[in-house]
């Protein structure tokens, strides 16, 4: 079945290192996206005309453009056109954060505007400051509403990092290809074993996140 190649030499270690590259890119860009997404989402919820226009264009651009094109634009385009020398990993982080921020901001905006005005007003009437109102009343409600969709976004981002091999980053999928190439003669069936293993690795990476989300949803269901 081709699983044997993984036991040769340090192939399995290399595959795990590749997985770490993919996960590192996802983790960093997810973190950036959450922070920036909250800020942009709050700006969007303010409902000012100029901000709305700019963020609208931003969001639509991100949604229309395939992530791979964005990767090429930043990695190959920016280097040539702007004369900036970006490493492949930096380019990947920029593209994934750019994408994640837009999607996260839209989730934050949606959750924020779904909170009735009366929640802010009754908090104010009870003497809460603006900060306390957000801290104790608004944010807990928003987080609850956003959870399922943001988990979905995070797992989508992790899966999509497999595209970064296209700009030369050696992540798990690329390592897999290298292993298959190197063992083409000795184990011609390696492709199945290697790719199946990669599938399993992605599953192991994403599944706990889904489980955690389910756990929180259950816990908050009250």
């Amino acid at each position: 079945m081709g699983f044997d190649v993984l036991l040769k030499g340090n192939n399995m270690i290399r595959l795990l290192e590749g997985l770490w590259v993919a996960l590192r890119i996802s983790l960093i860009s997810v973190s950036i996206s959450i922070v920036l997404g909250i800020i942009v989402g709050m700006l969007m919820a303010m409902n000012r005309r100029v901000i709305n226009a700019v963020t609208r264009i931003y969001l639509e651009t991100v949604r229309i453009m395939p992530q791979m094109v964005l990767l090429f634009v930043v990695y190959f385009g920016a280097t040539k056109a702007l004369g900036i020398n970006l490493s492949a990993e930096t380019s990947a982080l920029i593209v994934f954060s750019f994408w994640g921020t837009a999607e996260m901001a839209d989730l934050v905006r949606g959750a924020l505007i779904s909170i009735p005005v009366i929640q802010y007003e009754s908090s104010t009437a009870l003497g809460f400051s603006k900060l306390q109102t957000y801290l104790y009343v608004i944010i807990p409600q928003i987080v609850k509403r956003m959870l399922p969709l943001s988990i979905n976004l995070i797992t989508r981002m992790i899966k999509t990092t497999s595209l970064v091999m296209m700009i030369g980053i050696v992540e798990v999928l690329k390592v897999g290809q290298q292993i298959i190439e190197a063992n083409r003669k000795s184990s011609p069936n390696a492709a199945f074993g290697v790719f199946a293993t990669i599938l399993l690795l992605y599953f192991i990476a994403c599944w706990p996140i889904s489980c955690f989300s389910k756990y929180l949803e259950k816990k908050w269901e009250n």
Partner: protein, 247 residues
Amino acid sequence: MGEILTIKNLSKRYEELTVLDNISLSVNKGEVVVIVGPSGCGKSTFLRCLNGLEDIQDGTVALGGDIINPLKGNKSRSREKIGMVFQSYDLFPHKTILQNLTLAPIKVAKRKKDEVTKEALELLERVGLSSKKNSYPRQLSGGQKQRVAIVRALIMHPEVLLLDEITAALDPEMVREVLDVVLSLAKEGRTMLIVTHEMSFARAVADRMIFLDGGKIVEEGSAQEFFDAPQTDRLKKFLQTFSYDKD
């Protein structure tokens, strides 16, 4: 029986539109003032100006001598002295009933948790909702939610309580249980300003009635004068809309 709330020449405008026009009113400690008027007359806006939810363009609102609107500096501290209950259910959906009561005293007034919890349980007992302390707002009926909202305001020990059409969104059979709570508060000498459409309740609870129309106080007086011998045509007409004659 000193004066507690003093409103002088209050005006509220949205650009061209004048919602409240030069209103002056003083409320004594322990007095219950009921404000009625046609919809859109500015009743709710008036209450909202009193605790600073709306800014005002002219005049002042003073609580026990301190000007609280317009206010410079630490706004939130003075707001806790004026409790408010709204028409729409405003409990915090992510907190239990008990937590709804204790959140503000602990976080805003910085009181001790045990002491606040004890008081919260006493208050829930008083409005007959002890058994709901660990429920969430969505598990309560509208009338129960409003009773919780009232005690959530009370636990902050407000000097004045503002009730803004608190039964308007309720099914008729739930109105009574909420208004009974308000009546008991009036009996124990709470200072309250109440906006309502329940005329028989107004008559029973009010020390003073105010008829607001077009952003102005058109008529005011004791409940008896107000309902039995209205002076102005506008009030007469308004009161007629509540009575039915078959002929």
